[in-house]
Homo-oligomer: 354 residues x 2
């Protein structure tokens, strides 16, 4: 049997209550007693029993972290390791532990969250995603359980505390960037629209087109499902439109490179013939050809601040609802070209053919 608080108490000639107070560093205990008790705890190699402490104190000192199901692209590299690193950094500093969800689909995840909350497994929860019409989020909100999310909520934006990038704005900026390079035919190849991040980026793209006086056409938007099912085919069709795009905005670097590969199969080169910008700035994107122009979304900060917000919420449940957009950074590399060069090249090619 392990050493308990009672063993320590006997050995130190104090009561268990006193030992407990020494552990909690209660100021009402004299320094002398504290020293004595601590010496005994060390000698006996005493470690407080986590479960007993939690049961009595009605707190768990742990944070539940809920991943969306792992098949979703958003939680592939490098998002997941990096956001976890951010969360751990903040949690560790406040001596909180991390309890990770294990569910494989929406229903399992929901059940797990319910049992985390009702079973008092965790003191607060971080949702690592924002899904359209997510009953998990609704449950948390209705239960008034402390939680925060990485991602803008689909509903109740003013009732839930969250961290995100300003995805509408960054998509807008990215389109403007292409616009500045002279592009007028800009396509968007998107993420899963069940997630708000994808909707926001698409919306930012549309708004930017409209502001620039360009038309949004459905034929310039390839849905995530279509791309996943038939990436090569959809790119082929896109590039065989009467007026094919001269630039493409991709939802993620992984997708961007897949697009680039399909373009190559069609003998279309990036950035010579088509420009590509993307989001998320994977660790490989600097090294690989062509080095990708991508928006760094500060994933570590996303995790860190989500945790800080949650910690605040847990210590003061009545604290106001907050949200914050973590700054992003467009990293210009070699996947975008100005339209003038492009036109020249086209003209050269046409001349060449004649």
């Amino acid at each position: 049997m392990a050493i308990t608080i009672i063993d320590v108490a006997k050995e130190a000639n104090v009561s268990p209550s006193t030992v407990s107070r020494v552990i909690a560093d209660n100021p009402r205990i004299s320094e002398q007693t504290k020293r004595k008790v601590r010496e005994v705890m060390e000698r006996l190699e005493y470690y407080p029993n986590f479960q007993a402490r939690n049961l009595a104190a009605k707190s768990t000192k742990t944070i539940g972290v809920i991943m969306s199901n792992s098949t979703s692209l958003a939680f592939q590299n490098p998002f997941f390791p990096e956001v976890i690193r951010g969360i751990c950094t903040s949690a560790h500093a406040s001596k909180y532990g991390i309890y990770l969800s294990t569910g494989g689909n929406e229903e399992e995840i929901y059940q797990e969250v319910v049992s985390m909350v009702q079973g008092r497994k965790v003191d607060g929860i971080i949702l690592l995603y924002s899904r359209v019409n997510d009953r998990t989020m609704t449950f948390l909100k209705d239960a008034q359980f402390p939680f925060t999310m990485v991602g803008r909520p689909y509903k109740f934006e003013n009732e839930v505390t969250y961290i995100d990038n300003d995805n509408q704005k960054i998509a807008h900026d990215v389109v403007n960037y292409l616009f500045g390079l002279g592009h007028r035919q800009i396509a968007f190849i998107g993420g899963n629209l069940d997630f708000v991040v994808s909707k926001d980026r698409l919306e930012g793209y549309r708004q930017a087109l409209i502001k620039a006086g360009l038309l949004y056409t459905d034929s310039y938007f390839i849905h995530d499902d279509a791309f996943k099912a038939n990436g090569d085919r959809s790119i082929f069709e896109l590039m065989n439109l009467k007026v094919p795009p001269t630039a493409i905005v991709a939802h993620d670097d992984l997708i961007a490179y897949e697009i680039i590969r399909y373009l190559e199969e069609l003998s279309i080169q990036v950035p010579k013939d088509v420009s590509i910008v993307s989001f998320n700035n994977h660790s490989l994107s600097a090294y690989v050809k062509p080095p990708l122009t991508s928006v760094d979304i500060s994933i570590f900060e996303l995790g860190l601040e989500a945790t800080n917000f949650l910690l605040e919420k847990m210590s003061d449940p009545k604290s106001t609802v907050k949200h914050h957009f973590v700054p992003t950074n467009l990293i210009e590399r070699d996947s975008c070209g100005s339209i003038k060069q492009l036109v020249n090249k086209y003209q050269q090619e046409k001349r060449g053919k004649k």
Copy 2:
């Protein structure tokens, strides 16, 4: 206050003991009583308190997962998300939860593991790495606490249950593969030698050279530290040896692409001038140029089987020590060429220059 077992007992006109047995689906309770109690539990929305259950039952139904500190390359993409997915799949099936370590350095990790074990936070532990002379592992072994590791232990190989790839063999195979393509000058650019995986791959490389009757030279091996500090410089020096390598084995796809970039800066092309093979088969490596020949190490299975082994160990602490090598798969893509082509090209170039 939440609904407790006592509320349910009163409502169902049975004793708390009976409710507890219904929760555990104890066969000694009549089906009729079970039905009645379950109906009440549902109506009252009763959820068992996790902490109380754990304290009384002296088990936690959770597994501790220990990452090496997140700066280590091995736990970048895609290893971490994928291994976690494997762990979660198995853990979820057995209704275990995951408690994640948050420590940022070796000392913090060690302290966390000690408190997980002594504080009875978890029933068993998975070490996601194998480090040379790791006191965390030694502690676990000495405490006779159920644990398993992803990676071959540095010491006590016959005393600890683990899962790994046969890294010596796959490195050996990879060298033989290059050998089969005609390469005789084969360099190795390695991982952090504090980890056994890196030592094993290096050792497999050496053994393969020796078996093939080739010499192992230090100048053909670039240490992780040297590469991280001065990647471009070290590649420059490597390629400016009197006899530069015609092929390179890289410890990881991320490193491989970094190497490729430095080679390009020196106007050396892959696979035309130099071949590259790597390990880990990142999700991007199929799409990116050149598509990388890489060893797929079945990360998901690594996580899954580690968890299965641990579950077994926890249910029967006296079960025998086991280990298992998860099969790997060399995925041939376009980063390796046969030496004949290479010689031809060199000769052509030389002719060209003359």
